[in-house]
Amino acid sequence: MDTRKKPRRPGMIIVYIVLSIASIFSLFPFLWIVVGSTNTSTDVIQGKMTFGNQWSTNITKLFGNANMSTALMNSLKIALFTVILTLLITSMAAYGFQMYKTKRKEKLYSFFLLTMMVPFASLMIPLFKLIATLHLINSVWAIILVSSASVFMVFFFRQSFVNYPSDVLEAARVDGANEVMTFFRIFVPSMKSTYAAAAIYTFMTSWNNYLWPLIVLQTNEKQTTTLLISSLSSAYTPDYGVIMSGISIATLPVIIIFFAFQRQFVEGMLGSVKQ
């Protein structure tokens, strides 16, 4: 242990001041969301920072007129199916690339990685035409299928599979397990934390997705929470109290996930650059 305790330098005080200011700036909007969801539109915009009694009125408007419950269900449905499908197919592919290395597979893999540079805007038009041809316009599956085909997640899983001891898989083979069984029964269960990190990352991305749903989902019954909040705020006379309660409800699940799984959350984020 370090026993040579140095006296605190004046530099440390500046550090505390800077970090405190940064923290206040970072946290203030969150407080404002919570307070704002209890106030009227005028109070919100004028920055009233005390709790009001409009919470139930705002919530009633949000779920009554604005159809927040449908939007929440749509967002949840898209996010859950995207997480399940993405985790299944991208981790399988990563396993295929990592555990059955061949030159041709490596070439295909490098090509996939290269496509990560392509901006979504370049895919948007052909994707839209394709989805129209497949009669998937206004269907949540247009979002789920397109989001699940994620090169990034293949990359993420492969990075985490690199250090897996291959003798474990060898042992399973000697015991007569076939390749697919080995993957599902032995490999996947031993990688729980990687899957948790991937699930959280995918859920977040899906939950906050805006551009692609904006293009594909065209009726109010199919709206996601992000689309709903966006349309509330671009209304001719926006009701800011309702918007605030909408934002607080849309943000809550993500914050809960963040605090419940902080470690996996950060791991998921950093996974892409692990050595």
Binding site: G47, K105, P126, A149, S233, S234
Partner: protein
């Protein structure tokens, strides 16, 4: 040997499901988009027009406006944000710091908000009768409210401020994790040699952080070149407004592509051409960023080699 070969083949089965989806939803669009750049759409009629779209690009004032707006945001926001992230990370990396966990979580928390949510929050904060104006007037920094979102300069400022709020903590986490991988022995050896802590930061931390700085720079550059959600929701009236922000200052490249496709008569061919322009710009910037970092890597290696020689 035969089983080994058979096993390698099984690998392809694992890759097939994602391969099919990527083929349909990624590779096909990439190539189809390239084909579209050579065509022009009028109603339901698609005509092959060769390089006409590319020629049009160079004489299109809206394209240059979008390019200028995007690059203005890129050059102001990304460096400022990354320097702030680096400073916060360096401060949080000190083991002597109390409340580290609290500071780290607080600064990171904005990155869990959705892009739409924070954009709308900042738009409300900087509204004419909004919280920022009323606070500034209350503390006598302002006599009259500023119409932040009515002038291109101040509106861009608010957008950049909002993006810094949302993304600084995100990048900070990358730096922090890289800093925690640097062995403490290095700093100890340096301090024995009489180096101050700021020298330690510039001579040890920064050079070793170079790969991470490169990574965050490339990621932020790609992200900013694709900027869509924020400018779209910052502009009054959202997706249907005739102008994207005051004097079209929020017309970024992605917003322009969206407008070309979905706002008026669809011009898919020309929109695809603009999107390929983004791709080319991303590729060029990424190559430049890699080159710059490689050059400094070579310099760093030489320095290290010298230092090791001296040490022995």
């Amino acid at each position: 040997m035969a089983t080994e070969l058979k096993r390698k083949k099984v690998g392809w089965y694992f890759i097939t499901p994602v391969g099919i989806l990527l083929g349909i939803f990624l590779l096909y669009p990439i190539f189809y988009s390239l084909y579209l750049t050579l065509t022009s759409t009028r109603g339901t009629l698609t005509q092959f027009t060769g390089l006409a779209n590319y020629r049009k690009l160079f004489s299109d004032p809206s394209f240059f406006k979008a390019l200028k707006n995007t690059f203005r945001i890129l050059f102001l926001q990304v460096p400022l944000m990354l320097v702030l992230a680096l400073i916060f990370a360096a401060m949080l990396n000190s083991k002597k710091l109390k409340f580290r966990g609290f500071f780290r979580t607080a600064i990171f928390l904005p990155s869990v908000t959705s892009l739409i949510a924070y954009t709308i929050l900042f738009k409300m904060l900087f509204a004419y009768d909004g919280l920022v104006n009323s606070t500034l007037i209350k503390i006598h920094l302002l006599d009259a409210p500023i119409a932040w979102m009515q002038a291109p300069g101040t509106a861009t400022f608010v957008l950049i401020l909002a993006m810094i709020w949302r993304w600084t903590g995100y990048n900070m986490i990358f730096y922090l994790s890289a800093m925690q991988n640097i062995s403490g022995d290095l700093y100890e050896a340096a301090s024995i040699d009489g180096a101050s802590s700021s020298q330690g930061f510039f001579k040890i931390t920064l050079p070793l952080l170079k790969p991470m700085i490169l990574f965050t720079t490339v990621m932020s550059t790609i992200g900013t070149l694709q900027l869509f959600d924020e400018p779209m929701n910052f502009s009054a009236g959202g997706t249907t407004a005739s102008m994207v922000g005051p004097d079209n200052c929020f017309l970024t490249l992605s917003v322009y592509i969206y407008n070309l496709c979905f706002k008026y008569t669809p011009k898919f061919g020309y929109a695809a051409t603009v999107s390929y322009a983004i791709l080319i710009i991303v590729a060029i910037l990424t190559i430049i960023q890699f080159r710059v970092s490689e050059d400094s890597d070579v310099r760093l290696e030489r320095k290290m080699a010298k230092a090791i020689k001296r040490g022995n």
